[in-house]
């Protein structure tokens, strides 16, 4: 029933540090313990996806291809038909290799500072996301500390923070851009504000949980040492919350990127992945949209990976054994 051990030599086992702690259920939580021996299954699933994609490209583009062959009055052979379907200029669904070529072109062959380079757009969006993430983290931690150490805030503010998670905050994004634009703030800052606004919620919630995670036994021990509130906080609560903090940070950085991208949508921004998506959709440049999407995906994964690395280093320094 449990074949997880069979392929464990392919991938080094993940450190136990994060799994020994109670973590919120989420995509990241389930990731850890089901990772052993995944190289082969993941490859198979990816291959199937790519094959399905190629087939889907034929199917979805067939209308456009038929139009093209009707103009030339030449009956198309199957090979020609498929070949055309995979090499259209503005296909309904571009074939994977078209996207890969466009991606390669706009990442490696162009000057990094030119507005036609995807690296440039990724930098514009990524820097806004990171700045917003840093401020959001600070704000989230400060709020959590306030909530944990002050009962009135806990009772009155926390319910609102939880309720505000059910609100589609992203809808406010365009307005924040416009409002800050009126005050004279343009460029990176408005997007960073949106990212900050989006990502402090998960951090506050995670930190409140983490700061409260020490059990009564540990708190009693601190009391027998006659530790004061400050000492309890710095020597027990704060270290106990670090694992929770990193779990929320991973969620937060992903949301913060979404915030930065959406922040570029409604205001006609000139640069950034969101602007690239929007201009692609105006001019029907599907290949460009897909390439930008892949860049966004890569950027998101890279940002999460950086946080994960920081988590591993920090937990190791704090004495968690792998």
């Amino acid at each position: 029933m449990s074949p997880t051990a069979s392929g464990s030599h392919c991938v080094p086992a993940t450190p136990m540090t994060t799994e020994a702690l109670p973590r919120p259920i989420g995509l990241a939580a389930t990731f850890g313990h089901l990772r052993e021996g995944t190289a082969l299954p993941v490859t198979v699933v990816l291959l199937v996806t790519i094959v399905a994609w190629y087939l889907g490209a034929i199917w979805l583009n067939s209308g456009l291809v038929e139009q093209r062959f009707e103009q030339t009055d030449k009956p198309a052979t199957t090979a020609e038909f498929i070949d055309t379907a995979w090499s259209l200029d503005r296909p309904v669904l571009p074939a994977p290799h078209q996207v890969a070529i466009e991606f390669y072109d706009s990442v490696f062959t162009r000057d990094v500072t030119s507005p036609r380079s995807l690296v440039y757009h990724a930098y514009v969006t990524g820097s806004a996301a990171v700045v917003g993430f840093v401020f959001g983290t600070l704000l989230g931690i400060v709020l959590a500390v306030g909530i944990v150490s002050w009962r009135t805030l806990d009772r009155s503010l926390l319910p609102w923070i939880i309720a505000s998670q059910t609100v589609p905050i992203l809808a406010i994004a365009p307005m924040i851009i416009v409002v800050l634009g009126n005050v004279g703030l343009t460029g990176l800052m408005p997007k960073a504000v949106i990212s900050m606004y989006l990502c402090f919620f998960p951090i506050t919630i995670g930190m409140v949980k983490g700061l409260r995670s020490p059990d009564p036994l540990q708190l009693d021990l601190m009391r027998t040492y006659s530790a004061n509130r400050n000492q309890v906080f710095w020597k027990l609560r704060w270290p106990a919350s670090v694992a929770f903090l990193f779990t929320s940070l991973k969620v937060a950085i992903a949301i913060s990127l979404v915030g930065a991208i959406v922040g570029e949508l409604p205001t006609g921004a000139q640069a950034g992945l969101g602007a690239r998506l929007l201009s692609g959709s105006y001019y029907g440049q599907t290949v460009q949209i897909w390439a930008a999407l892949f860049m966004a995906a890569l950027l998101g994964m890279a940002l999460v990976a950086v946080v994960e690395l920081a988590e591993r280093l920090t937990l190791r320094r704090m004495g968690a054994r792998p």
Partner: protein, 311 residues
Amino acid sequence: MRAGAIAMALALAGAIASLWLLENTAPTLAFWALVIAVTIASWIGLERLARIDKPRWIGAILVPGLFGLLLLYLWQVLTVGFDVPPILLPSPARIGHQLAANLDLEWQDFRQTFLKSVLAGFVLGSGLGFIVAILVDRSPFLQRGLLPLGALVSAIPIVGIAPIMVMWFGFDWQSKAAVIVIMTFFPMLVNTLAGLASANSIERDLMHSYGAGYGQTLAKLRLPSALPFVFNALKINSTLALIGGIVAEFFGTPVVGMGFRISVEIGRMNVDMVWATIAVAALAGSVFYGILALIERGFTFWHPSYRQERS
């Protein structure tokens, strides 16, 4: 208890008086003194009330409710008192007025965005994720192939797929529903798989000793124990669906819908209407979430997190 109630009552009277003053006279120094007094009095009242443990509704409903009222009050007094230009931040009264004046339009937007795209996408995406999870659960190979990908997908800004979906499915609600289906699929898949795996081996052994087959174990043990995870995914998805529906409308839509309204009214600098639309979206999101939480309570009443409350 009594001191808290008195402080709150004083604060309430002061708040009403200051709002009346604001309506009829220009703000003076005495007015601001009154506002500060109201803030301090209500904070003292909140401090007192927050210490009360029983009855439960004081801590759970009254304190956050009063705190929300305090925030609304300060918002109103500060925006009007300092003459903040409405384009920066309109006062709650203005937003409420705008909302009441355009109820018909807001209802049409709500119907287009929420009742059509969000609900359709949410049901399809969550349902699909659930069914695929149950199918994939039988094959550990597929499971190990899909789960890491599901985790990767969570790092991807999926909203970006909206322009493509608009091209494929047209401007109407179908394209928005498609975006939502993709956004909600993976959280449901991953959470359901985790939930199905959450029944422990003792319980499974018991089912085995009863001679229960795969179907019976699934229906009587594993699905019920997966329910908390499923509801967790549904709650995550309720927010995601609303965000997806609104953002997808930024990429093209018929002339109705909450995302359309927001982007158009911003172009016309009609910020009051934008805030009114956001208020509707916030209300819809909270009610949607609340209904899911109520259903969850009905289905998973046995779960420790609910049993604790009652005792």
